[in-house]
Point group: C2
């Protein structure tokens, strides 16, 4: 239940970071793309094939040092169903390597439809009596704009199948405040209201380390809000985007953790995926460059928060 | 640009309704499922194959009387990438029959990632110089919780490629008020704030009938709010779920239209898809039963709003 499995892996690896897998074609070395295009042409199938090989290379070099990966669904959907097939294969490959997989899909809908999303991404699908798995991630990001109806179907699955969700609270983008910072009833911001809803939803799926299976997405680009929410939401585990390319630094993200160094996982996508470009190394060493950046990031954060204990 | 194409079709067919394609396996006659399972087994592929045949049958009987169809992404994702392939094939089949296709996906993310979703669902994808289409719907539903960053990438595509979006304002589910009805700054509800943002975003993609390419989702289950938003958002076209199975009736949804009978499209999913069960007719006539229900619904609504003019 809850994020206990993720927390255990974070402590074992002494690494509270997650590698984002947002594979734009620009990020992929030419030798991988050339091979795929030679076989399939510059088609959706060709792109999907290149992405899969690229992802597998990254996972092979990362699985023993990071606890989790976070594929961003948009970067697979833009390559059609062929890209979505690569998403499914990436999830499966990462899970076989022991990684905790968070599908960043920000899904949301009303009750019965949300149940379909829940089954799709973290649950199982019934096909006239046969139980099969569609995508099978360990956690999925969701948007809580529709209220409890859109969250409850997920809680049942979190509870039964040992899965988790992250609900958007304060996102990392420049315009996140347009709605999220607005004050409700003269008292609280929308992002705090959403965070408090996470605390309530989480009561149904509490874990043994003090954190529930209902996490919140809180951006590293707003350190004050990160600190505020860490204090106000003691049972809510945070997924923190915005470190690195978007501007959040290690000092900022340190505010996301409790005194034991628990309570959050920090995402980095571009800096890890494109480390080979920044290093200007041999493109065939792209995954080793990613590993070096993942280790650098881990050390930088651990430097601020100290040993992680549970 | 905008919803001009959709409006033209609504007026030509004198039908302001959209047929939801939310194909649960329960809705599909056994003879279709048996054939698919015989070929592929009770697998994701088998389910996806049955859904595609069922959808094509519905589209064949509906395309000349309804202006649009709305596949709900969740019911395809739950059958894995195989289901997502059926989504792509359903969109393509419906477009070839001249239908306007709204993918109900409620996508949302920050700038660069939202651009990937926009390309995926209503735009085109660049594969190292080759331009291809991933899903190619005419419009997509989105969630505006992240503010303008998450909407602007869509506006560019709406403008360039003659597409539209529907942003969630007031959803049809029982718990929609938990967040959406809260009062901001002692003045306006969150759903109204979101609606007003649609009016502003829409200024960039105005159409010739007075409605922009940025529509709003407003549920039929809250008729007072539907009436309120129709008055306050004169340039925003509404997608109205919640008619039929969820409780909204023709009198309720009539509030969504302007004096010319324009300004909204009413969705019905289950009542159309399962008409054959309610009629208790020969399962092989499932699509003809759907047609009868679609005509009944159209007449019921036209009865309240009169002739549609533009």
């Amino acid at each position: 239940m809850a994020f206990d499995r993720l927390i255990k892996s974070i402590v074992e690896k002494q690494n509270p970071t997650v590698a984002g897998l947002d594979p734009k074609l620009d990020f992929i070395p030419d030798y991988i793309k050339d091979k795929a295009f030679e076989k399939y042409g510059k088609t959706l199938e060709g792109a999907a094939s290149a992405i899969l090989e690229y992802n597998k290379g990254l996972i092979d070099e990362l699985y023993d040092i990071v606890p989790a990966v976070k594929p961003q669904s948009a970067y697979y959907e833009m390559y059609g169903w062929q890209g979505v097939k690569t998403l499914a294969e990436t999830i499966s490959y990462a899970k076989n390597k022991g990684l905790f997989v968070i599908t960043d899909a920000k899904r949301n809908d009303i009750g019965a439809t949300m149940e379909a999303y829940a089954n799709a991404h973290i649950g199982t699908t019934d096909i006239c009596g046969e139980t099969v798995q569609a995508f099978g991630a360990d956690a999925v990001t969701v948007n809580g704009y529709l209220g409890s109806d859109g969250i409850n179907p997920l809680l049942d699955i979190c509870s039964k199948l040992d899965k988790g969700i992250f609900v958007l609270a304060k996102t990392s983008n420049p315009s996140s405040g347009e709605l999220q910072d607005k004050i409700i009833n003269n008292r609280t911001t929308i992002y705090e209201t959403m965070g408090k809803m996470c605390e309530v939803w989480g009561e149904k799926v509490m874990g043994k380390y003090g954190y529930s299976g209902v996490g919140a997405v809180v951006g590293a680009t707003y350190p004050e809000q990160l600190k505020e929410l860490r204090n106000k939401l003691p049972k809510t585990f945070f997924l923190v985007p915005g470190y690195g390319a978007q501007g959040g630094n290690a000092k900022d993200v340190a505010l996301a953790f409790d005194k034991n160094g628990l309570g959050a996982i920090i995402n980095s996508s571009r800096a890890i995926m494109c480390a080979w470009k920044k290093e200007n190394c041999n493109p065939e060493d792209y995954a080793k460059a990613a590993r070096r950046e993942a280790i650098r990031m881990k050390n930088e954060i651990i430097n601020y928060i100290g040993e992680i204990k549970c």
